[in-house]
Symmetry: C2
Subunit: 173 residues, 2 copies
DNA sequence: CCGCGATCTTTGACATCTAAAGCATCCTGT
DNA sequence: ACAGGATGCTTTAGATGTCAAAGATCGCGG
């Protein structure tokens, strides 16, 4: 505890733990884990966001959208993009507008179904994303450089359970 | 792998993993852990956000701000709030505006220093937050109900390392 | 006592987000 | 056929987020 707290009390990062009505030591482990994941993702997201902006003039949601398309050479329906990115449909419209204006993606209505729009990476989008992704991966390796492989692997396994649990509650109700 | 994927492929939640330029099995564990944390926090955040909205007409950032003040009976400077919530100063202004309009917090300029504004919970803010926090804690227990205490404890410990690592990189550079 | 950098909050321009409504298009059952 | 529900995208209103710059105030050194 002392070590954990010493990190936060002297740094500009937030300490969410022990802040929500009395979460303590062994108490309320779900709440503690939740708050810890939140503070980590917030902290790292901001750094990634900052680097994407200064090094590539891009935003994190834009990077995310490009990543989805990079893995789908045939392109994706906008609604499929919104499902995979876990954002609402309305969100994708503006995001795709900007990326299309930047020439990184194109919208196509090739289907017989005129309701459907498919987004694809352009050649430039593919090249740009490829460079960004390599940098992005390096940033993460750097940020987690002090974490041993064992801890990474175990976290990955445990968090799979967390994800499965939350998933189950969210779809089976 | 199969089990992990089976969860995602049939559900409306995103599968970030295996999506960013070829992250695979034992490869790039940092990237995989990052994407997993991201998808979990996104998934759970949306559920929490939804419940806060339908049950209390509140938003997650508002809940977060109230939580910070709840733990600080003397109130907090707006800049201290922004530090703890890990958002920029400009963000706090509007957030505090709305909460003040709702009568949940007050801004006071009691100091000799007229630059400083301190935000405090009102009685109503304290009572409201207290109820929301209890519900919030229950939601999390429910969402993580299938995760055994051991996995929770180990995740907590491992993620402390991740947090410390990221923290170190972000402040020592 | 005065200037000038440091500190604190707000403002302004934009990009993301959500929820909900609006439109167009498709498809199915009769 | 065709009415009506389902599906897919966009639009709207409002909240949140960033960054950068503007204002206000403080405090210290000369």
């Amino acid at each position: 505890m002392a070590s954990e707290h010493s990190i936060d009390s002297s740094e500009p990062s937030a300490d969410f733990e022990i802040l929500v009505h009395g979460a303590r030591q062994g108490q309320k482990p779900q709440l503690r884990l939740w708050l810890r994941m939140l503070s980590i993702t917030k902290m790292i997201s901001q750094e990634i966001r900052r680097r994407l902006r200064v090094e590539f003039g891009a935003t994190l949601p834009q990077f995310d959208l490009l990543a989805q398309l990079y893995r789908a050479p045939e392109g994706l329906k906008l609604s499929e993009l919104s499902r995979r990115m876990m954002v609402t449909n309305g969100n994708i419209t503006g995001l795709a507008d900007r990326l299309e204006a930047d020439g990184l993606i194109v919208r196509e209505m090739l289907n017989g179904d005129r309701r459907v729009t498919v987004a694809k990476l352009t050649r430039r989008g593919r090249e740009t994303f490829s460079i960004m992704a390599k940098a992005h991966e390096g940033w993460l390796r750097d940020l987690m450089a002090d974490v041993d492989e064992g801890a990474l692997a175990e976290s990955l396994a445990h968090l799979a359970k967390v994800k499965a649990s939350a998933n189950r509650r969210l779809v089976e109700d």
